[in-house]
């Protein structure tokens, strides 16, 4: 029994630690929760360290979960993003007037949910991970209790999320009916064996489509993106940062293992859907982002656009494309932490500084923050030599290799559109006269911004280690027998 538990030790530690943090918080008298935050950070670091080494090659617990290299990559990614988001929250919560101690444990649980999603080899387990993550984030999005739009964000996210979960479950049920199993490996075998009759096949495709819709909701793919701008805008910025990066990574973790690997035999049928979804998602995201005056909302649409670029990799469906998507998620996480981190760093009570105009003249009032924001915006645009460029480069290369010329063409065209609004932020910061006096950055957030900026640059200049890790993750993905 103990031996069987070794593979899931990171997961157990995550859940136990989060519970412990919750209890400690409940019995402490401090009002600023800095200690709780640090406890969470240490816990996430421990989980990341434990996940570094993939534990075993097989799936455990009746083929339900596998801590393979693929899961390890996402575990580390989610924990690192979690650490960043927690540190961003410390000052931001105080400034925003949020005094709920359960905030940090909830974030920890959300990370645990991502870990389960990445490791699940059974669709039911994957669903549990998805719900664990989502429940925590629904609450987090509403943690600005006295603000209407935060409440609205939470409720909207919850209702639409519940709807998507239902579709996902329905899809899983259809797949189970036709293949007789919820284990990914079993499904893969059933689909490749060719025992399915014509009409059965249709049901399988329908089920897969519903699973894609459920996950497409989590990653904010068009047309299931409508919640994203409102929720991103209404939620506390530190939570938005987490949603845009870790939640999206979780969604892709489940999507890649399910759709790209386990249901690979259906790739032919799924390809047109994914193709259109990718093209529409990036185009809609970029076009709407052009007209945003709020930085937070603009970043929400930008996050939709990036889902589109990532879907280009999923559409390609090769191992190289999968590795490219994994790398892209890391680069995307780093640059978004920079952008949202700066918003957290300059936010003050009564002055959230969420519109682009609030950043006018930042180049003069705080040159370092302006430089970091510039790097984030250039990286999001895909200007070399930054992390975002290398991510796009690899995704586009893999897609061209798979023959997706037109899709890459659309993606390239979208990159040009995106330059207009990302550079608009740079323009406001440097070309416009300052709106107020010197803008001080909050210390915790400043550290996160600095670290994430360095990571963004390093991922562009020396991406080889992370690229190698991403490729290794895809080398041997366990599906369970």
């Amino acid at each position: 029994m103990t031996q069987a538990m070794t593979p899931i030790i990171p997961l157990l530690v995550a859940c136990a630690w989060a519970t412990m943090v919750l209890l400690i918080e409940a019995f402490s008298s401090s009002r600023r929760f800095v200690g709780v935050a640090w406890l969470t950070v240490v816990g996430l670091a421990v989980v990341a360290a434990l996940s570094m080494q993939p534990a075993g090659d097989g799936a455990v617990y009746g083929n339900a979960i596998a801590m393979d290299g693929y899961a390890a990559y996402f575990n580390v990614l989610a924990c690192v993003i979690g650490i960043g988001s927690v540190l961003l929250s410390v000052d931001y919560l105080h400034d925003a007037g949020i005094f709920q101690g359960e905030y940090y444990p909830l974030m920890f649980f959300a990370v645990a949910g991502v870990v389960v999603m990445a490791a699940a080899t059974d669709l039911i387990v994957m669903f549990i991970g998805l719900e664990t993550m989502s429940m925590a984030v629904y609450v987090l999005a509403g943690s600005l209790k006295n603000q209407m739009r935060s409440n609205e964000a939470s409720l909207k996210y919850f209702l639409l999320g519940a709807f998507a979960s239902a579709l996902l479950l329905y899809g899983i049920a259809l797949l189970y009916v036709m293949t007789g199993t919820t284990v990914l490996g079993g499904m893969h075998a059933a689909l490749t064996s060719g025992t399915l009759a014509g009409s059965d096949h249709l049901v399988v495709v329908l089920g897969t489509g519903l699973v894609l819709i459920g996950l497409g909701f989590k990653i904010a793919a068009v047309p299931f993106h409508l919640w994203a701008p409102d929720v991103y805008e209404g939620a506390p910025t530190s939570v938005t940062a987490f949603m845009a990066t870790a939640v999206k990574a979780g969604g892709f973790a489940a999507l890649l293992r399910t759709a790209m690997i386990a249901l690979a035999p259906l790739h032919e049928q799924m390809m047109p859907i994914l193709w259109v979804a990718a093209a529409v998602t990036m185009t809609v995201g970029n076009l709407v982002a052009l007209r945003q005056a709020s930085l937070k909302r603009m970043l929400a649409y930008s996050s939709i656009a990036h889902t589109g670029y990532l879907l280009v990799g999923v559409t390609a469906g090769t191992d190289a494309a999968g590795a490219a998507v994994l790398f892209y998620l890391a680069g995307y996480g780093a640059m978004n932490l920079v952008a949202f981190g700066i918003m957290c760093a300059v936010a003050r009570r009564g002055d959230a500084r969420e519109s682009i105009a609030d950043y006018a003249g930042l180049g003069q009032t705080n040159p370092m923050l302006a430089l970091a924001m510039t790097i984030a915006m250039l990286s999001l645009t895909g200007i070399p030599p930054l992390g975002g460029f290398i991510g796009k480069l690899y995704v586009f290369t893999a897609a061209l290799d798979a023959g997706l010329f037109w899709l890459v063409g659309i993606a390239v065209f979208n990159s040009v559109i995106s330059a207009a609004y990302y550079l608009g932020v740079v323009r406001t910061m440097y070309f416009d006269p300052p709106a107020g006096g010197v803008v001080e950055a909050r210390p915790y957030a400043a550290v996160v911004v600095a670290a994430a900026t360095v990571v963004t640059v390093l991922l562009g200049v020396a991406p080889a280690p992370v690229l190698a890790a991403a490729a290794r993750a895809f080398e041997k993905v366990v599906l369970g027998a």
Binding site: I383, F389, L393, T397, L400, F413, A464, A471
Partner: protein, 619 residues
């Protein structure tokens, strides 16, 4: 010794140093920045010394792994063409940084840092010989320029800067896709993924794929050049940019487009290029005439110079499209000329702008009396831009027209009108600004050029004269590289292209150089760089004689005639004015003949300016 890396990254280190200085220490900042840009100047000349101009391949190669899984690496190297542009860059940047003391007074630190970063990216673009690395520098180049226009620019800087960057990105992102595709094609053929230029040259692909890739590259570079009708960002960017930004934009950035044609489009897609050459030439000629006509009616001096750039870059593109050695060499030379002359023109417009804060021609008049030194400097620079024999512009334009005529007579004939129009709009502007009575009282007490302003212009004027009377060292440097670039178009057996290159190298052209050099020793070679003379002497030594004799025995009529599309039109044009048809059956010999005639003409022309220039200056 990683000399090229040193060259590329010293300005960046200078930028770091400048940004570490306190905000108050402005004078120190400016000095550090100038020093940081003088270092690449020294390194550039050092590279020139080490450079072996008898080879047409990449030299001083450096390699470091960068993206091992894609086969892209940090790979640097220079050939004659890039070395010339490197020298232009390292000469112009210090001048711009020195002149910033007069023209930039707000947010000085940011300006100096941007300018130094711009130099790093420009030099990086020129030395990168890995397609992806090239793209990296190419895109990075946009950001400092965007900031320079946007922060230190004029009233409509927002519009101009975003237009500049969007136009360029629309062009360059399809290029990225094409680069990736080329790499994948190469991988399919050879089994290994690589983006090294030397690997990509000669990649086999279907005609349709080659056409699409060609178009992607063409778009990227044509926007940058800019070719008509993609030029509309240029006047806006120039008018709004600060003086230094305009100088670098016109002097170096635009050359990146034409450099891209030489480095990528011509060697990578020789067949498609040969097919499209006529249309490119036609667009270039439209650009020449259109730019000149629009320049004529501009009320704003800077806009006038900006449109003259469209016209001049049209000449460069015509030279490249001609696909013959004369035209392409002329185009490369004209790239340098344009950098020197137009850079100087922008600096000079900046001089009066600093005094009056207007660039409208109608605001001036009679400056000759108020600012005589300025008027003389302006005169020389303007004449060099027009292409007066004896100054640099003439050599380039003449060779381009030579190549253009051989390429297509009609295009050549229309292009000549551009020269006439160029003289017209420049002289007319000069007349309105400099001559007549001082009509505007505000101009009466304008001080003449300061020592610093004079010091910035003087090197450019000196270069314009040197390049006009003694172009030999520059042609020495580029000759083999141009031959190598054109050699990619040859599909025939290697034995054909080899002697062809050899005859170009040491043959008739070498003789022409010697004669040109000898003719020019009279007017003023005291200012010539010492290194250049022995170089020319070496060229003048035994190889020419041997080479010239070799031209005739070689006729590769014995060998199967190579299918060179780019020579066919040259042969056609030559056949009409030259009766010796038997010689012309071999395009190489035909070219040698024309080359010799050109050399004679050039030598004759170079003597003329020596006499023609003196009265002009004394005027």
């Amino acid at each position: 010794m990683r000399l090229l890396s040193l060259l590329v990254w010293t300005p960046a280190i200078g930028a770091l140093l400048v940004s570490a200085l306190p905000k108050e220490a402005e004078t120190l900042m400016r000095r550090v920045a100038v020093a940081a840009s003088l270092a690449p100047l020294a390194i550039g000349f050092w590279i020139w010394r080490l450079f072996d101009s008898s080879r047409g391949d990449f030299q001083l190669i450096e390699t470091l792994p960068w993206l091992p899984s894609l086969g892209a690496s940090y790979r640097l190297g220079v050939d004659g063409i890039s070395l010339l542009l490197i020298l232009l860059t390292v000469v112009l940047t210090p001048l711009v940084l020195i002149s910033a003391a007069d023209s930039v007074h707000k947010r000085v630190k940011g300006y100096l840092v941007s300018m130094l970063m711009l130099e790093t990216t420009m030099l990086g673009t020129l030395v990168a010989i890995d397609a992806l690395l090239f793209y990296v520098f190419w895109e990075m180049m946009l950001i400092p320029m965007y900031l320079i226009i946007g922060v230190w620019g004029g009233e409509r800087r927002m519009y101009a800067s975003i237009k500049f960057i969007l136009f360029t990105m629309v062009g360059s992102l399809p290029m990225l896709a094409a680069i990736i595709y080329l790499g994948l094609q190469h991988a399919e053929a050879s089994g290994t993924l690589s983006f090294a230029l030397t690997d990509l040259y000669g990649t086999q692909m279907s005609l349709r794929a080659a056409q699409l890739c060609f178009f992607a590259f063409f778009l990227g570079f044509a926007v940058k050049v800019p070719m008509w009708p993609l030029h509309t960002w240029l006047p806006d960017a120039h008018v709004e940019a600060p003086t230094g930004g305009s100088v670098i934009l016109a002097g170096v950035l635009l050359k990146m487009g034409t450099y891209g044609f030489l480095r990528f489009v011509m060697p990578l897609f020789p067949e498609v290029m040969a097919g499209a050459a006529y249309w490119i030439g036609a667009l270039a000629v439209i650009g020449i005439v259109y730019g000149a006509l629009v320049a004529m009616v501009q009320p704003d001096m800077k806009k006038l110079v900006a449109y003259s750039s469209v016209s001049h870059l049209g000449f460069v593109m015509l030279g490249l499209a001609s696909l013959n050695t004369v035209g392409v060499e002329g185009a490369v030379y004209q790239m340098l000329n344009h950098g020197v002359s137009t850079g100087a023109l922008f600096l000079l417009v900046g001089v009066v702008y600093e005094r009056r804060h207007t660039r409208l021609i109608s605001e001036y008049g009679g400056l000759w009396k108020v600012m005589p030194v300025y008027a003389i400097c302006f005169l020389i620079v303007m004449l060099s831009s027009i292409g007066l024999p004896g100054l640099n512009g003439f050599v380039g334009e003449f060779l381009i027209l030579m190549g253009g005529f051989r390429f297509d007579k009609v295009l050549g004939a229309i292009a000549v009108s551009g020269v006439v129009l160029g003289a017209a709009y420049m002289l007319w502007m000069y007349q309105r600004v400099m001559f007549g009575p001082v009509t505007n009282p505000a101009n009466e007490s304008m001080p003449d050029m300061s020592r610093r302003e004079l010091g910035v212009i003087a090197p450019l004027i000196a270069l314009a004269v040197i390049m006009g009377v003694y172009p030999a060292p520059f042609f020495d440097m580029m000759r083999e590289s141009v031959a190598a670039t054109l050699a990619h178009g040859k599909k025939g057996p290697a034995t054909i292209s080899q002697p062809h290159a050899a005859t170009h190298g040491g043959g008739a052209h070498g003789a022409a150089v010697t004669r040109g050099g000898a003719a020019s020793t009279a007017p003023g070679d005291a200012a010539l760089p010492g290194a250049a003379s022995p170089r020319a002497a070496m060229q003048a030594g035994p190889p020419p004689a041997a080479g010239r004799h070799a031209v005739h025995p070689v006729p590769p009529r014995l060998a199967p005639r190579p299918k060179e599309v780019h020579f066919s039109s040259g042969g056609k044009a030559g056949a009409t004015d030259k009766p010796a048809a038997n010689d012309l059956s071999n395009p190489n010999v035909a070219i040698e003949k024309l080359r010799k005639r050109l050399a004679d003409l050039k030598a004759a022309e170079q003597q003329a300016p020596a006499q023609g220039k003196a009265p002009a200056e004394a005027h």
